[in-house]
């Protein structure tokens, strides 16, 4: 019998785009809800956002099975943390844990591209952006995933983050107020879904601020 499959791969790319923007007293994390494989849409309503702690939300795109495993692993680790310390993990702590967790699988990586958004210990917005093997950086805003090539330059143009080479280091949070940031996120996703076939269907936006976590949705192109 001839081989039917060219070569089995343990990976797939299920697409999707993620964005996070930090402000002085809030953080916006957003992702579309389309899940694809090749030219197929598997489902139009799959959340890529995961609440990891009270003030910490992760948006992930890439290979769904790896993303799910990563989310479950972090959820379990967070439970253990709560049992041991009697409190929620802070966003910077979760950021380091995520990095370690990703690097732990350096030689059989989680094929997942994550942005972590939340509030730091002072209540200021923070965004951490990662590659698949765990190197990460604290930034003011970030975009990852299939539409990031369309979104990121737009955010750069609009938000003009201070150069990380400046001394003394400049604060990375964006100057926008919350409503402006949410509008910006809606715009970049509407734009990305025009050209990126892996981004679309619905946009899920989570805003984290002193009041807690607030969630909203916006329809995107379905084609």
């Amino acid at each position: 019998m001839t081989k039917q499959q060219a070569n089995w791969s343990p990976y797939d790319n299920n697409g999707g785009s993620c964005v996070a923007i930090a402000g002085a007293d809030y953080c916006v994390v957003a992702a579309d809800t389309r899940m694809s494989t090749g030219y197929n849409i598997l489902t139009r309503d799959y959340s890529k956002l995961c609440k990891l702690a009270d003030k910490c939300v992760m948006a992930s795109s890439g290979f769904q099975a790896d993303v799910k495993a990563l989310q479950k692993h972090l959820a379990a680790r967070h439970l253990i943390y709560q049992h041991q310390h009697n409190k929620q993990m802070s966003c910077p702590a979760m950021a380091q844990l995520l990095s370690n967790t990703l690097y732990y699988k350096r030689f059989f990586p989680y094929y997942s591209f994550n942005v972590l958004g939340g509030l730091d210990n002072e209540g200021k917005g923070c965004v951490f952006t990662y590659d698949a093997v765990g190197s990460y950086e604290k930034v003011g805003y970030s975009s990852l995933g299939s539409g990031s090539t369309l979104i990121m330059p737009f955010l750069d143009n609009q938000l003009k983050s201070p150069s990380p080479l400046l001394l003394p280091a400049q604060d990375a949070v964006t100057p926008l107020v919350e409503a402006e940031a949410v509008d910006l996120v809606k715009t970049v996703f509407a734009s990305a879904s025009e050209r990126d076939i892996y981004t679309g269907d619905k946009l899920e936006i989570v805003v984290i601020n002193a009041d807690g976590i607030h969630r909203e949705y916006m329809d995107l192109r379905k084609d």
């Binding site: 479950k72 379990a76 439970l79 253990i80 049992h83």
Partner: protein, 301 residues
């Protein structure tokens, strides 16, 4: 010190059919400060008495959250209690990792009881189960826990699809489901209180249940004034994940229900338990337990 020649290890039977090491472990439960539990159809309340080891020290934590739907109160060796509650937490996390649903309480209780059994049965054999256990138990522990019974009794409170549950796990590996129960020193007084009232518990409101818990805790006190600082109360129920009530809430309830301390001993019956503190010489306590029910294998508890 030595009572007889049959109590040096867990695998030796006495001619009367008793395992003394197991009975000593059960005695350890009676020495610990009291813990009580009671349940309605929808809620379970756990309570315990906080006793400091010395004037200079704080008390030890006796109520542990295991998961959102399960919690335990312990009496006896607190260190063993912590090992077991860590095991229970792990089991819950593993279960919800594979099934994304909460571990049924009854099943966790059976696993816990099996663990107590393993510590009794497999003293020297390196059976498959013992090998598995070895990997489960934290190796940093100073104890080799399968070489002696756990000296702790656990009241396990939980909620699952079959309703609210309260179990008692004994060092012997036995476990029982209860409507209400009390363990630890002077628990007999609380038991008497609960026995008098348990028929109403089924339809009790959450707050009434907490009130009864406070009353039962008060019964176990000896002379002390009843205030929130000497007790801990925890609740789990429908729509209410397991949590320990904070001290102010407890104090408010004590004040509201007007159950302030009575200075005299409220329990009429003589307390057969060994006494309230670990200050009592262990040998003496064992002696007392042995002489009252000589020749009877007390495996019903």
């Amino acid at each position: 010190m030595f009572r007889n020649q049959y109590d040096t290890d867990v695998t030796t039977w006495s001619p009367a059919g008793r395992l003394f090491q197991v009975e000593y472990a059960m005695e350890a439960v009676k020495q610990g400060s009291a813990a009580i539990g009671l349940r309605s159809k929808t809620h379970v309340v756990l309570g315990c008495v906080n006793k400091a080891n010395s004037e200079l020290s704080s008390h030890q934590k006796k109520i542990f959250k295991v998961d959102d739907h399960i919690g335990v109160a312990i009496a006896g060796l607190t260190a063993d209690g912590r090992v077991l509650s860590r095991y229970m937490r792990n089991e819950c996390i593993n279960y919800s990792f594979t099934y994304e649903s909460p571990l049924p309480v009854g099943r966790l209780v059976v696993q816990l009881a099996d663990k107590a059994q393993n510590s009794v049965l497999y003293e020297n054999e390196l059976t498959f189960k013992a090998v598995v256990l070895e990997t489960l138990i934290d190796q940093v522990c100073t104890q080799r826990s399968w070489k002696r019974p756990y000296g702790v009794g656990l009241l396990v409170a939980g909620l699952d699809e079959s309703g609210a549950h309260l179990y008692y796990n004994c060092p012997s590996g036995n476990y029982f489901e209860y409507q209400a129960f009390a363990i630890g020193s002077r628990s007999q007084a609380a038991k008497t209180y609960l026995e008098r009232r348990f028929e109403n518990f089924k339809d009790s409101s959450r707050d009434d249940l907490v009130k009864d818990a406070l009353m039962a805790i008060r019964e176990t006190l000896q002379g002390e004034t009843f205030k929130s600082s000497i007790c801990t109360v925890a609740v789990v129920g429908v729509g209410e994940p397991f949590h320990v009530l904070d001290q102010n809430t407890v104090q408010q309830m004590i004040d509201a229900f007007d159950i302030v301390g009575e200075q005299e001993d409220p329990a009429a019956e003589p307390d057969t338990d060994a006494g309230q503190d670990a200050a009592v010489e262990p040998g003496a306590a064992a002696d007392q337990g042995g002489s009252t029910d000589e020749g009877v294998a007390p495996m019903d508890i």
